[in-house]
C-alpha cells in the first residue's frame, strides 16, 4: 500500500496545455503514471500528444471526470485563476486536488479553505511539489507522480516523507534512495501559510499505512504545524519519525509583522520547534545532510 495515491490512480491535469503543465504532464507519462485527462477551457476535444500517448483534453473538470474516471487532479494554472481551479475540482467530486501553483493570494486561499470544509475532496498545496508513490520498475518507473518532483530519484519502499519544501524533499528522498531505502509515498504539502493538508494529516495517514515503517518529517520556521504534528505523534504514532526544521539561521521577522506572534504563539523558531519535536520523541536531525541517517538510526537499521 501507500497513502493517498497508488500506481493505478487515474489523474487529470488542469492547465495541461500551458508551458509548465505540459512539461510535467509529459514527465508523469514518461514515469508510467495513469494520466488520463487534461482540462483547458476552450480546447476541449483536442488531444495532448506525447510519444504514443494521446490524452484527451476537456473544457471542464466535470466533463473530464465523467469521461475519464479520474479521481485526482493536479493544477498548473496561473495564480489569478488557481483558487477557482481548486473549487472546480471540489465541485467535480474529486478525492484529491493537488495544487502546484505558487503565488496564490492569501485572501483567495482563506475563502477556498472555508468553502472546502465538509466536502469530500482533500487539497494538497498550493505552492507544493506534489506527491510521488514510487513504482517498482527501473528508477521507480511505473509509480504515480503528481506534480513536479523528479521521478527517478525515488525507489519503492517503506519510508514516508512529508515536507513543506520541494528541493529539500528531493534531498531527503535522495539520501534514502542512495542508501538503499525506498519510499512508500512522498508528500510535499507546500510552503504557503494557508494550505489544504498539514503535516499532522499526513502523519496520520502514514501511521495507518501498513507499508510505511518509518517517517521523515521536514519543516520550516513559521507557524505551529510541525509542533502540532509532533504533539499528536507523541501520543498516537506507532512508527519512528525523524525530523528536520530548516531556517535555524534565518533572520527573524522578515515576512510577518510582530503582532502575528501573539496569535501564532512563540513556538515558530527553528530552535523552539526542534525542542518540541525532541520532547515528543522525534529524532531530530540538526544537519539537513543527516535526515535519512537519523531516521535509519531511529529504526535500528544503522
Amino acid at each position: 500500500m501507500s497513502i493517498l495515491v497508488d500506481p493505478s490512480t487515474r489523474i487529470l491535469v488542469q492547465g495541461i496545455t500551458g508551458d509548465f503543465g505540459s512539461r510535467h504532464a509529459k514527465a508523469s507519462l514518461d514515469y508510467g503514471t495513469q494520466l488520463v485527462a487534461g482540462v483547458t477551457p476552450g480546447k476541449g476535444g483536442q488531444t495532448f500528444d506525447h510519444g504514443t500517448h494521446k490524452v484527451p483534453v476537456y473544457d471542464t473538470v466535470d466533463e473530464a471526470v465523467k469521461q475519464s474516471g479520474a479521481t485526482v487532479s493536479v493544477i498548473f494554472v496561473p495564480p489569478p485563476f488557481a483558487a477557482e481551479a481548486i473549487l472546480e475540482g471540489v465541485d467535480a467530486g474529486l478525492d484529491l486536488v493537488v495544487c502546484i501553483t505558487e503565488g496564490i493570494p492569501v485572501n483567495d486561499m482563506i475563502k477556498v479553505k472555508s468553502v472546502m470544509q465538509g466536502s469530500k475532496t482533500r487539497l494538497i498545496g498550493p505552492n507544493c511539489p506534489g506527491l510521488v508513490t514510487p513504482g517498482t520498475g527501473d528508477k521507480s518507473y511505473g509509480g504515480c507522480r503528481i506534480g513536479i518532483a523528479p521521478g527517478y530519484i525515488h525507489k519503492r519502499g517503506n519510508i514516508g516523507v512529508v515536507s513543506r519544501s520541494g528541493t529539500l524533499t528531493y534531498e531527503a528522498v535522495w539520501q534514502l534512495t542512495t542508501r538503499g531505502y525506498g519510499q512508500s509515498t512522498c508528500v510535499g504539502i507546500g510552503g504557503d501559510p494557508v494550505n489544504g493538508t498539514s503535516h499532522l494529516d499526513v502523519l496520520k495517514l502514514f501511521n495507518e499505512d501498513p507499508e510505511t515503517e518509518g517517517i521523515i518529517m521536514i519543516g520550516e520556521i513559521g507557524g505551529t504545524a510541525e509542533a502540532e504534528a509532533a504533539r499528536w505523534a507523541k501520543e498516537n504514532c506507532k512508527k519512528p519519525i525523524a525530523g528536520f526544521i530548516a531556517g535555524a539561521t534565518a533572520p527573524p521577522g522578515r515576512r510577518m509583522g510582530h503582532a502575528g506572534a501573539i496569535v501564532g504563539g512563540a513556538d515558530d523558531t527553528a530552535a523552539a520547534k526542534k525542542k518540541i519535536l525532541a520532547e515528543c520523541g522525534i529524532a531530530v536531525s540538526d544537519s539537513p545532510a543527516d535526515m535519512a541517517v537519523t531516521l535509519l538510526r531511529a529504526m535500528g537499521k544503522l
Binding site: P105, V106, S165, G166, A246, A259, V263, G265
Partner: protein, 395 residues
C-alpha cells in the same frame, strides 16, 4: 513591503479611516504651504523614512530630531529645510542612516487615551483576526506576555467579513461607549475594508487615540501586504519606495531571485527556499557563517545565475561561495555552463564550491572540471559545507 507614514495617511483618507489631517512635502516651500493650508498652531513636521525612533534620531548635518512640533508656516519651512536632502540616523537605520526626501506636515492632537488595534492574518486558524488592547502606545508583545487578559481577539469569518456586532464587542471591551462607540465602529469597519481591498497581511494602528475633544483617530500605522496579491494591487505597488530597501534585494527581485542579506562571509546560491535555508543552516553547523539567503527558483536560467553571482559579489564581506543545486528536472549541465559563464564574467577570484545533484549530473560535473576555473566539486551537502568553510578559513 513597507510604506511611508504619509502613504498610510493617504490610504486612511481614501478609505475613510479617521486620522489627523496631514500633507506631504518634498521641498521646504511645499512644507510651508502645507502648514498654511492645514492652518492653526501645534503642527508636527515628520521626516519620512522606513524606520522607527525618528523623534530621537540625529541628522548627519548635526540637526537633532526627525519629528518637530511647530506653530507657524515659516517654522515648518525652516525645519523641513533642515531635514530634506539630509540623512537621518536612528536606532533602527544603522549607522549609515536614511536619506530624507519627503516630510509629513500633520495636525498634532491632544491625546486623552491610547489604545492598540490591529488586523492581521492568523495562520493557525486560516482567518483574519482583530487584536485590540487598552494598552496603546506600548510594545504589544510585552502586553500579551505579561497581561494576556488585556488582549482582545476577534476572528473574521472567511466569507462574511467583519460584522458590526464584532466591532461593537471590541469597542465595548476597549471601554468606548456612547458617541465614541459609534466612531470606533465606523473606524474599525473602514480599516477592515482597507485591509481586505488592499490585500494587506497586517495593519497595526498604534496608537489608536482618543483625543481630549472626544475623537477616535488612527495616529500611526504599520502596513504589511501579501506579496502574492501585488499583481492585482497596482495602487499598492506604486507606494513601493525602492530607495528604502536593500539595493541587493531590489536587484535580485528584478531577476526573479529571492535574496536576503545576512552578516556572514559565505555566500550561497541554491534552488528552492527550503533547501536554501537548509544550506545556510549546514554552513553554520560546520562552523561557518552564511552571508545570504538566495533562492534562484526552480528553473534557474543562465542569466539568473549570472545575476545571482553579481549580487552575491556586491557584498564586500563575502569570502567564498557555495552553490548547491538539486537539479531534479533541470539539466545539471545547463547549470554548470551558467556557473562558468558567471564566474568568468565577474572575474571570480574567491573560493567556489559547487554541489550539483540530479539530472545529467555527470556531464555537469565534467563541464565544471574542464572549465579551467578553480571550482571545487562536492559530492553531497556535508562535503560541500565542509569544503567551503575550510576554504574560507584558510583564505
Amino acid at each position: 513591503m513597507n510604506i511611508h507614514e504619509y502613504q498610510a495617511k493617504e490610504l486612511f483618507e481614501k478609505f475613510g479611516v479617521a486620522t489627523p489631517q496631514g500633507k506631504v512635502a518634498a521641498t521646504a516651500e511645499e512644507a510651508g504651504a502645507a502648514a498654511r493650508e492645514i492652518g492653526g498652531t501645534g503642527l508636527v513636521v515628520k521626516a519620512q523614512v522606513h524606520a522607527g525612533g525618528r523623534g530621537k534620531g540625529t541628522f548627519t548635518n548635526g540637526f537633532k530630531g526627525g519629528v518637530h512640533v511647530i506653530n507657524t508656516a515659516e517654522e515648518a519651512q525652516d525645519i523641513a529645510g533642515k531635514m530634506l536632502g539630509q540623512t537621518l540616523v536612528t536606532h533602527q537605520t544603522g549607522p549609515e542612516g536614511k536619506l530624507v526626501s519627503k516630510v509629513l506636515i500633520a495636525k498634532s492632537v491632544d491625546i486623552a487615551k491610547e489604545h492598540y488595534f490591529a488586523i492581521l492574518f492568523d495562520r493557525s486558524t486560516s482567518r483574519h483576526a482583530i487584536i485590540a488592547s487598552t494598552e496603546g502606545g506600548m510594545n504589544i508583545e510585552e502586553v500579551a506576555e505579561k497581561t494576556p487578559e488585556k488582549i482582545i481577539k476577534e476572528f473574521v469569518h472567511p466569507t462574511l467579513g467583519l460584522q458590526g456586532y464584532q466591532c461593537r464587542k471590541i469597542a465595548a471591551a476597549l471601554g468606548l461607549r456612547g458617541a465614541l462607540m459609534n466612531q470606533a465602529v465606523k473606524l474599525f469597519t473602514a480599516l477592515y475594508k482597507l485591509y481586505i481591498q488592499s490585500d494587506c497581511s497586517l495593519v497595526e494602528v498604534n496608537p489608536l487615540a482618543i483625543t481630549t475633544d472626544n475623537q477616535v483617530v488612527a495616529l500611526d500605522a504599520k502596513f504589511n501586504f501579501d506579496d502574492n496579491a501585488l499583481y492585482r494591487q497596482k495602487d499598492v505597488v506604486a507606494l513601493r519606495d525602492t530607495s528604502e530597501e536593500d539595493p541587493r534585494e531590489v536587484a535580485a527581485s528584478e531577476f526573479g531571485l529571492s535574496y536576503i542579506g545576512l552578516d556572514g562571509n559565505i555566500a550561497c546560491l541554491v534552488n528552492g527556499a527550503g533547501l536554501a535555508m537548509a544550506t545556510m543552516d549546514i554552513i553554520k553547523f560546520h562552523g561557518g557563517d552564511p552571508a545570504n539567503f538566495l533562492d534562484v527558483g526552480g528553473g534557474a536560467s543562465k542569466d539568473q545565475v549570472a545575476a545571482a553571482f553579481k549580487i552575491i559579489l556586491g557584498d564586500p564581506n563575502v569570502k567564498g561561495i557555495l552553490v548547491n543545486i538539486f537539479g531534479g528536472i533541470m539539466d545539471c549541465n545547463v547549470i554548470a555552463t551558467g556557473i562558468i559563464a558567471a564566474a568568468q564574467e565577474t572575474g571570480l577570484s574567491l573560493p567556489l564550491v559547487v554541489r550539483l545533484e540530479g539530472n545529467n549530473v555527470a556531464a555537469g560535473k565534467e563541464t565544471l572540471a574542464n572549465s579551467g576555473l578553480a571550482i571545487t566539486g562536492a559530492d553531497d551537502l556535508t562535503d560541500a559545507a565542509q569544503k567551503i568553510v575550510a576554504a574560507v578559513a584558510a583564505a
